[in-house]
Symmetry: C2
Subunit: 220 residues, 2 copies
């Protein structure tokens, strides 16, 4: 005799696992590529012990799995749909929560001098790629790029941006992307490239959303 309440309580456990900014950051990082505890702790500025504890909460909620590889534990998302789930959560929050709207506004205005940083939507990007007049720039670290990226993207991690400018075409508009809508890497890249005179905009999503939508990705 299972009551409906048991099911909802269990569902609520999963929701609670998403109820921490640190865990959402871990999930966002895991959406790029599987990683060890130490790597994840580094990406999220958590102590190793703390990261481990959060990862185990995510594991108990069925959101990540872990398997050993030598001395390291490699964590990965259990399910592609977790990216969609967080995306939907984001949409609902942005639409209905004033505080969220405010923060998003700040995030996009951050260091911006005008309204020109308008992001490129998925459909715009697909159209531009089809026409062949945009170049895709992936500004994530090389390791994440290697684990998977958009077709035909060029990888220049932000730290090495100025040193690798010759990889960028000059006759096309550049579209930069990174980990997701709240990832600052592509913002930074866009700003620095604009100062150097490049015609460049930001893709409003990131690699995980692209992949979760079932669009083609390339690895290695």
């Amino acid at each position: 005799m299972t009551s409906q309440q048991d099911l909802l309580d269990t569902l609520a456990q999963v929701a609670r696992a998403l109820g921490s900014g640190h865990r959402l950051a871990l999930l966002e990082r895991l959406a790029q590529a599987p990683a060890s505890v130490e790597t994840l702790a580094g990406s999220t500025r958590l102590s190793v012990g703390n990261a481990s504890q959060h990862l185990q909460q995510l594991r108990r909620a069925g959101l990540v799995t872990a398997n050993r590889s030598g001395k390291q534990m490699i964590y990965r998302l259990t399910d592609e749909r977790i990216v969609s789930l967080i995306g939907l959560l984001r949409q609902v929050a942005e639409t209905n929560l004033a505080e969220m709207e405010r923060l998003v506004g700040q995030f996009f205005a951050d260091g911006d001098s005008g309204g020109a940083l308008e992001a490129v939507s998925r459909s715009d990007l697909l159209a531009g790629l089809k026409r062949g007049d945009v170049a895709l720039l992936d500004v994530r670290p090389a390791e994440e790029f290697a684990a998977g990226h958009l077709p035909a993207a060029i990888n220049i991690p932000v730290e090495q941006l100025e040193q690798m400018l010759d990889l960028l075409p000059e006759d096309k508009e550049i579209v930069a992307y990174c980990r997701g809508p709240y990832c600052a890497l592509s913002h930074e890249a866009v700003q620095r490239l604009r100062q150097l005179g490049y015609r460049v905009r930001r893709f409003e999503e990131g690699y995980p959303e692209w992949k979760a939508a079932g669009l083609p990705v390339t690895s290695a």
Copy 2:
């Protein structure tokens, strides 16, 4: 200078609002129809004071809104997508959490004598309706039915099932639905109707999911 962490923390607040079985029950009830605090408390077996507090957490998270109507406060969902969000959460949980699978199994086996209670999928239902060989039965309370229901559905609340049998056609298969996948009403109806000899199955979703999918609904 908004950090990404502020955005994720705010997002986490919304997720935390979903992190309680009672609040999920309130949301499920609100997905049927807007309702007063007292009504909601009754539907979820919470005290009025407690329900009010949970509703305000949902309000702070931007998931519900309230406006006064005379002496009562009428709460409603802010966004249709909240139903999809919970649906996706449910899918992820059912796929990846062993405990969830166990509970769902119990829920469906509950009082069942065989495997014959296989639920009808959305596409099967649409096909059956198009062919005209299924009759739709809505077993929710009349008030929720009035606020919105599937086209051509007949409303017989479970409490009045035996008294209103003459509304049911005898030459068609009956498909019963209620509030959602975890709502027990249609289960109960199917079991009782089967014992009476009817050919009847359960729709695997409910009214809110149908509506959230953008399919046509009728009200009043």
